[in-house]
Amino acid sequence: MVDLAGQNLSLDAAVSRRAKRRPVPRWVITCATIAAFVLAWEIFGRDVNPVFGSYPSAIAVAGWELIESGELGKALLESVQPFVLAYALSIVIGVPLGLVLGRSRVAEAALGIFVTGAHAMPLVALVPLLVLWLGLGFWVKVAVIFLMCVFPIAINTWLGVKVVSKSLIEVGRAFVASDFVIMRRIVLPATLPYIMAGLKLAVGRGVVAMVIAEFFTAISGLGGIIINSANAFDTARMFVPIVVLMVLATLLNALVGAIEKRVAPWQAEMAAHD
């Protein structure tokens, strides 16, 4: 009896101990691993020849110099302007294209192969041709980024339309909705989660396209700083735009995610309920 009581007591203690221990928040874990990574890089990076590598404090100093001289701000603007325009164009063209491909048997048979083909093709290979057509300025960047973004958006939209429940479309038909109304009121909202996934994919590809365009056309923007610094063996300086690009792409993805929660809140709610 005594033993049993003792066991119960220790069980109670264990339960209350466990209840008291709060789980560590995710962001704390994330920040800790980032700090550990930066610290390790700082310690071991110093041993590397500065031509072949760099370390955070040196990159920070180089970054500060680039900010002070106004070079970074100018480069960021040069890069972001064509990106925003090209990304917006790919949405305006990619989404309707995907909707039509998904809904029209004829359009799918006629154009589908071009879209999948263009998506699979290494579009970087087209850059020399685009330079011939558009020169080395702003518009060639827009074209490269657009070509890299529009196909993932179109293909995801197309795929989304294909999996819209037939019954939901029949609801539209049963209540005598026109094809256009079915598209706008049923197909488009049902496809939104797929469209948003396409937009996220396009952010990643678009940032890659932006840098490629800056490497191969007029050396300018963030990609320009990378190339020029690398050519001058200034590796710390080269890392600055890389870090900026990484942060930029991450922020853009988060932005698309936030927009998704606004325009398609039922999706997250449904997932939470399942």
Binding site: E170, V171, G172, A174, F175, V176, A264, E269
Partner: protein, 259 residues
Amino acid sequence: MGEVSLVDVSKQFTSRGSNPHTVFALRRVSFTIRDGEVAVLIGPSGCGKTTALRVAMGLEQASHGHVMVDGREVHGCGHDRGMVFQHAELLPWLTALQNVAFGLEMKGMRGAALHDTAMRYLELVGLKDSWNRRPHQLSGGMRQRVGIARALAIDPKVLLMDEPFGALDAQTRESLQVELLDIQARTGKTILFVTHDLDEAVLLADRVVVMRDGELQEIVDVALPRPRGDIGALRSSPEFGAIRYRIWQALHQAPAVVH
């Protein structure tokens, strides 16, 4: 008025593949549902009952024959027929109220009238307080009530219901059956109802259309008084049992002559 007829309707599907062959989902089916009547289509799966309903709705086109509503031939879907789907099929991004309003909007209704009418029909199915909930926040039974309200709201001449209670648990199903009887008594709607549940058929129907292998097997009159009243007592009454057995027999007769 709300009289629907299928006139000599056949529906054939050609299966594609290595061995294409033609399957008759419906073979020369004719019946008329009178104004204000509840007709139940019953039969085993694959008997063509759902196809018959879909042809009546206009979601499926008859290969032969035609559909008449109040003596006029109809083509395709129309606001004179309201469809209640098997799994409610509410639009997940709309609230209950917006879902009911959807059908009305398609009919051209706008503004305050739209809101008021949609709300009135939500109230009819007892969901006035849940108007702002999205489908995933509603139970299966509540979803189907919204589906019924959506179809009723456009004030169709005929309500077409495709196994609407098939996916619900027994108790929810029973309460919705009672409610449907009540709504039908109040609105006097003509209803064509598809089910494979014998009890449900007898409980709801004025006449039961028994189908098998795409053909109309028999039409059984359900001579039970309306309103049906206490369905528990009704279910255990000998009259109920007799009609139920009559339909059971029709379902289990020797197969129709092979064509």
